[in-house]
């Protein structure tokens, strides 16, 4: 069943967090296909975000591989295994450590199929906790942004448990490399902060379903202005949109869900209706996916706009540790709200 939206399911009303939804997806896919295996640091005990908690017991150390601290090594190893037909998932403790394997991903993983003229395929999923969470500059990167421009990868940034499960299963069944980036404040793992919003826990059907890669989702309908946001920023944006609704402003909130492929049409459709566009992302303002979206709208739909395209993003600095500074840098509800109100004045 390919679906986009949680349908009302009378039989069950399970509320899960994202990490629970992902773990369920992983377990189902590992049962379904014995070529699937997962590897990463300390995943024997669950990994950093408890993505693999309990999996060792069911699937054993042959399919739940605890690695040394060797990111380039085990990424390369997973590429080789995928070329030979296995379906690896790499669990990163923090997505931030993937940069020590950057060459393997950019030069090998993303290109081998193309430069071999289609001789190989690399079904490989990267599970990547992304974004800032109070740990200073080296543990706060918006990983998805750094890989955004590299052809040959797919990039997913789910924000709800329903989407996370359905997209993860699609990612696992896809025959291409997929970076699956979940914000550190969205997993809902034990002991970790969980974003406060109406969608951070949610209904996940008992029945199997897939959410297709590359299709965005309108998380809230609205008529006055289009706001595009993903990951943690989607939660903050929805909170703002819900508050503004009460104040009489109707904000449409679009969740791209995937950055590559990106559902630009969905945004254009929305902009055609609202004539106003705000793009919210957590990463630095320079070079993010938001700039690409703005550029595409400026080239394909500029005529529908009644106002400049507004972007809300982190300023071009690393993420500082001090909690007051981190909150100053990462877009918050106040900033999103003012951007919307400012744009409405045009």
């Amino acid at each position: 069943m390919l679906t986009d939206k949680p349908r009302a399911s009378p039989s069950s009303s399970r509320e899960l967090t994202i990490v629970q939804a992902l773990r369920e997806a992983l377990r189902e896919e590992m049962r379904r296909d014995d070529q699937v295996f997962v590897l990463g640091e300390d995943i024997r005990i669950g990994g950093s975000f408890l993505f693999t908690l309990g999996l060792l017991d069911e699937f054993g150390p042959e399919r739940v591989l605890n690695t040394p601290i060797s990111e380039a090594g085990f990424v390369g190893l997973a590429i080789g295994a995928a070329i030979q037909g296995l379906r690896p998932i790499i669990d990163f403790q923090y997505g931030d450590f993937i940069f020590t394997a950057f060459d393997q991903i950019m030069q090998q993983c993303a290109k081998l199929r193309y430069m071999s003229g289609g001789q190989v395929s690399i079904p490989l999923v990267f599970q990547l906790p992304t974004g800032a969470s109070g740990r200073g500059a080296q543990h706060a990167n918006s990983v998805e942004t750094v890989f955004f421009g590299i052809p040959g990868l797919k990039i997913v940034t789910p924000a709800t448990p329903f989407d996370a499960k359905g997209l993860f299963k699609s990612a696992l069944r896809d025959n291409n490399p997929v970076l699956f980036c979940v914000h550190k404040h969205l997993y809902g793992s034990r002991g970790r902060q969980l974003a406060a919003s109406s969608i951070s826990r949610g209904h996940v059907p008992d029945d199997e379903y897939l959410v297709p890669l590359g299709k965005g989702d309108i998380k809230k309908r609205g008529a006055d202005i289009t706001l595009v946001a993903n990951g943690l920023m989607l939660h903050r944006s929805l909170n703002v949109a819900e508050a503004l609704e009460a104040e009489g402003l109707s904000v449409e909130v679009v969740d791209p869900r995937c950055l590559v492929p990106f559902d630009t049409e969905l945004v254009i459709d929305s902009v055609v209706r609202t004539s106003r566009l705000v793009i919210v992302e957590e990463g630095n303002e320079r070079g993010g996916w938001g700039s690409q979206l703005a550029a595409e709208i400026a080239s394909q739909a500029i005529g529908y706009l009644d106002a400049p395209i507004m972007r809300v993003a982190a300023p071009n600095v690393p993420v500082p540790f001090s909690p007051v500074l981190e909150s100053a840098v990462i877009p918050d509800e106040r900033q999103i709200r003012s951007a919307i109100l400012e744009l409405m004045e045009h």
Binding site: R44, I69, G73, D96, T100, P315, V317, S322, V324, L325
Partner: protein
């Protein structure tokens, strides 16, 4: 799972303290106690929910970091790891500035921009910590390169864990350091685990020091819970480096008295191993040796301990009383003019 017991501690006989000056021994003890109490306080502040961020405590590894840093000169430099509080205090970073940094205050050693994972103070030769495993190893070589080029006779010391020896950056660094004969000491804090992963699950050899030969560098494995043993090993490696004879790799066997970080109970460690290693606590062992030495009265030791406690309490007061950085500082310190 491989056999873990090959790594039960073997405690060498304690060397006599006579050859060492009382000041040195006292400072060794003082810094070890300072680190221990600092870390216990930090842990407490976390449990109280007062302290932000995350922490990796160095409880149990005090002898290694103190022995190593006291063997260095004041103008030698160290690089620190994610487990950096002990390394910082051992090299002389002020407890006040360190505590304030953990609270993200403007008075912190990195003005609140770094946090626990990036503590350091260049004025005492402690490069603000690099939390990416392995990444500091070539940077230490680079600082040593500058010392060599300028013929300053300074030395750089790179702290790293045994889990780090499987990273490519580490490998490239050791090769370059040996090839170019750089004045750098590679100091492994082998606490047997990288997070939950035992060394036998991460490499198919027994000791990290076996890798030194692959670069043409001397390597040794020593007991890391005796600060004198560590001091001697680092001193001679540093002397050798200063004399132009190049780098060395020293592996210190030690143990974490807790989990990998704050929220890790460390239950993956076998009980037998934990118990055996906990008996090797470097601090009471060293105190006992001091007390057996005429130069140290029990009361003096107690005074020293009390002074440390007071200093730590003062550091908390200092940190709490300090201002948070101005919001505008988020945009500062990116580029230098």
């Amino acid at each position: 799972m491989q056999e873990l017991s090959i790594r039960l501690p073997q405690i060498p006989d304690a060397a006599p303290l006579e050859p060492y000056e009382a000041d040195l021994l006292r400072e060794m003890y003082r810094r070890m106690v300072l680190i221990r109490q600092f870390e216990l306080k930090v842990n407490e502040l976390f449990l109280q929910g007062i302290m932000p961020g995350t922490i990796h405590l160095s409880l149990g590894q005090e002898a290694t970091v103190v022995g190593a840093c006291l063997a260095l000169d004041a103008d030698d430099v160290i690089t620190l790891t994610h487990r950096g509080h002990g390394q910082a205090l051992a090299k002389g970073v002020s407890a006040d500035a360190l505590m304030a940094e953990l609270f993200g205050k403007e008075t912190g050693c990195c003005r609140g921009k770094g946090g626990s994972l990036h503590v350091g103070d260049m004025s005492v030769g402690a490069l603000p910590a690099i939390a990416i495993v392995g990444a500091s190893s070539p940077i230490a070589a680079g600082m040593a390169f500058a010392f060599k080029r300028r013929q300053t006779s300074q030395v750089a010391l790179n702290f790293f864990g045994e889990g780090t020896a499987n990273k490519g950056d580490w490998h490239e660094a050791l090769n370059l350091a040996a090839l170019w004969n750089l004045p750098v000491v590679y100091l492994c804090e082998n606490n047997l685990y990288g997070v939950s992963t035992h060394i036998t699950e991460a490499m198919a050899i027994d000791y990290v020091s076996e890798r030194a030969a692959a670069y043409g560098m001397p390597g040794s494995t020593i007991y890391g819970n005796d600060p004198i043993i560590v001091y001697e090993a680092v001193k001679s490696a540093a002397d050798r480096a200063r004399a132009g004879d190049g780098p060395a790799l020293i592996e210190c066997l030690t143990y974490r008295r807790g989990g990998h970080k704050r929220d890790d109970p460390g239950t993956y460690r076998p009980q037998e191993e934990v118990e055996a290693w906990f008996k090797t606590d470097p601090i009471p062992a060293f105190r006992d040796r001091l007390l057996r030495d005429d130069r140290f009265a029990a009361s003096a030791i107690e005074d020293l301990q009390a002074a440390v406690m007071a200093a730590i309490d003062a550091s908390v007061d200092y940190a709490l009383a300090s201002e948070a950085p101005a919001i505008t500082s988020a945009l500062e310190h990116l580029y230098v003019d």
